[in-house]
Symmetry: C2
Subunit: 375 residues, 2 copies
């Protein structure tokens, strides 16, 4: 049995549908085109969505497609954005996403960072006026094929309470870092700066199970293990959980992500970040434009020959993998291992979709006249 800690579906009994990833990609792309996106941008967006589904980050894949479409319906997402580099230096840039899908703005901004790195050694791009961009890890991984270290962050709708606060002021604000190796697969960290991501709550709700302690506080700011805690007015907790366990560190990291993504670029930050769900209106007193992202690329050979670096990364990875385990057989994982193993499986076996997701996709199919079935 493979050790797959991120396999959120492992304990869910009924998988109503499994669909080949190529078919799901094609469906997502056609829906986005039908909703008004130009073909090339629809391809780009569908690629990012599917990479989340392939890597087992189901909360950020096609499960969100209908959410994006609702934002397009509300004119909160611009399907034909004029994405512009509005400020730059040799190693930096600010991009205005013109209200486009984050799935379209993000790849363009990450490519700008990689291009800057080509001449300046590193490239750093902060983005304003964008929307939810899906899975952070995929952007960081774009740097790998150029022998760069890739970095990606984004802010997000406020669901997280800073240490001591009974108020949601930060998003789950992820940090992703992708680092190339030689014979070993790359190191790919992709983490929310909370104790647990929101997607894990949904799984526990379906399983009618409580959360571990340290994940949530209730509407009064008290600890709770109710998986509906956030829905009932509570908040997710920063990585660390409480002050004794370092929640001020998780709060600090989430803040850095917020500031790099939005204060540097001129996007909305903190509690002003517009909500992802279309049924909630954005704050009426914005402090910037849209949501913000931050991307970085560092050329390895701007520090030392890439072959030397990658051979030491192989050594680093091999040494950590062979660490003495606490429990025989449960070996140390390298960041990115679980998602890579999942992708290998799902490329062959297909993408399992939960019932509510299938229902959503069938509704999109009916509305836009794009066929959806597993055959």
């Amino acid at each position: 049995m493979l050790n797959l800690p991120f396999n959120y579906l492992a304990n869910v009994k009924i998988i109503p549908m499994v669909i080949a990833h190529e078919k799901l990609y094609h469906f997502a792309k056609e829906i986005l085109i039908a909703a008004g996106c130009p073909e090339q941008e629809a391809q780009q967006a569908a690629t990012i969505l599917l990479s989340a589904d392939l890597r087992g980050v189901d909360s950020h894949g096609v499960a969100r497609l209908s959410g994006y479409i609702r934002l397009i319906d509300k004119k909160r997402v611009n399907t034909t954005p004029d994405i512009k580099l509005v400020h730059e230096s040799p190693s930096t840039g600010v991009i205005d996403g013109d209200g486009g899908l984050g799935l379209v703005v993000g790849p363009k901004a990450m490519r700008t960072a990689i291009d800057k790195a080509r001449t300046a050694g590193t490239g750093w791009v902060s983005v304003r006026n964008s929307n939810h961009y899906g899975i952070a890890g995929c952007y960081a991984m774009m740097a790998l094929e150029e022998d760069c270290i890739g970095i990606a962050m984004t802010n997000a709708s406020p669901l997280v309470a800073p240490t001591y606060a009974n108020e949601r002021l930060l998003g789950t604000n992820p940090i992703a870092v992708a680092i190339p190796a030689d014979k070993q697969p790359p190191f790919v960290l992709d983490m929310a700066t909370t104790t647990a991501a929101n997607g894990k709550l949904e799984i526990l709700q379906r399983k009618e199970q409580n959360t571990p302690d340290g994940w949530l506080q209730d509407a009064n700011g008290n600890p709770t293990i109710d998986p509906y805690g956030v829905k009932n007015g509570g908040a997710l907790l920063p990585l660390g959980g409480d002050k004794d366990h370092g929640s001020h560190k998780g709060y600090g990291l989430a803040s850095v992500v917020d500031i790099f993504s939005a204060v540097l670029s001129g996007a909305n930050y903190g509690p002003w970040v517009p909500p992802f769900v279309a049924f909630l209106d954005p704050p009426s007193d914005p402090v910037g434009k849209g949501i913000g992202h931050f991307f970085g690329a560092m050329r390895i050979d701007a520090f030392r020959p890439a072959s030397e670096f990658k051979s030491h990364m192989d050594n680093w990875i091999t040494r950590f993998k062979s660490a003495k385990p606490i429990v025989e057989g449960r070996t140390v994982l390298i960041p990115g291992d679980p998602e890579r193993i999942m992708e290998k499986q799902r490329r062959i076996a297909g993408i399992p979709l939960l019932d509510p997701v299938v229902k959503d996709l069938q509704e999109l199919s009916a509305r836009f006249g794009v066929p959806f079935n597993e055959a």
Copy 2:
């Protein structure tokens, strides 16, 4: 009563000595000169040491002076290093510290990053062949006066077990980020990537109290609340504590610090990092030179006008400070607040020194003929 979560001395009953920071600085500088450091480098090193004492990070101030001297005695620290930029691109550099004190190599490397940022927008310097550099936050803060965001990281002797490992493979590997504001004080995050720093264990040992759960594992890899757990062959745990609470994230962050600091520069990484304590020999099979650091500087105006950014930072800080508290009167802190308040107090009231530290300093005084007293 001020809310000072980082005031490790708050509950220790006997403070045998309080000394003015200028006197302590002078003493530290003279000891370093007597041990062979040139005057300017001794000044630099003493400045960094004292800034830790002033900011309340007592574990990284003069309490370590005798430790540095023991490394000089063992010829593991070079008091007259030839610190060189050995590789560069417009926005990057690698510095070889020639075995010097981290307290001397670090400031030079951070200045190189700031200089690079002046022309390229950002500057990133990875350092090899260095030693323990004290408090990370001080290096990040060097960027503030140039209207830059400052970043500092370092690897350190292995005391931390990755998730699932019964082996110490990582240091407490801190991340520091300093961000300028306008009328508000700067945002200064300075955090170990563990649940709790080693210094907190020493306080609990003195108080004969157990640790909270989630800080440590014992020599068999089982959870322990024994404050001597690390000394007895156990390990500190990455931020998160255990898998359910996101320890794989703390492990991932500590790994990024290790790789940026050491694999990029050619220093020792993971379990090969030489120990700080002089009574333990460095590994006999090094994979690089000395220990590694990583520094970054990003000019604000490489992204947007500094005045605009800083005014939004004021707004960010003001909004977070005014968040609704869970407990009336216990308001949300901005990273750097507790240390800044502490520094303000200690600049006036002096630096309190615990008995074992006073004893250490008196021994140095006798050995080098440098007077040490509070008068």
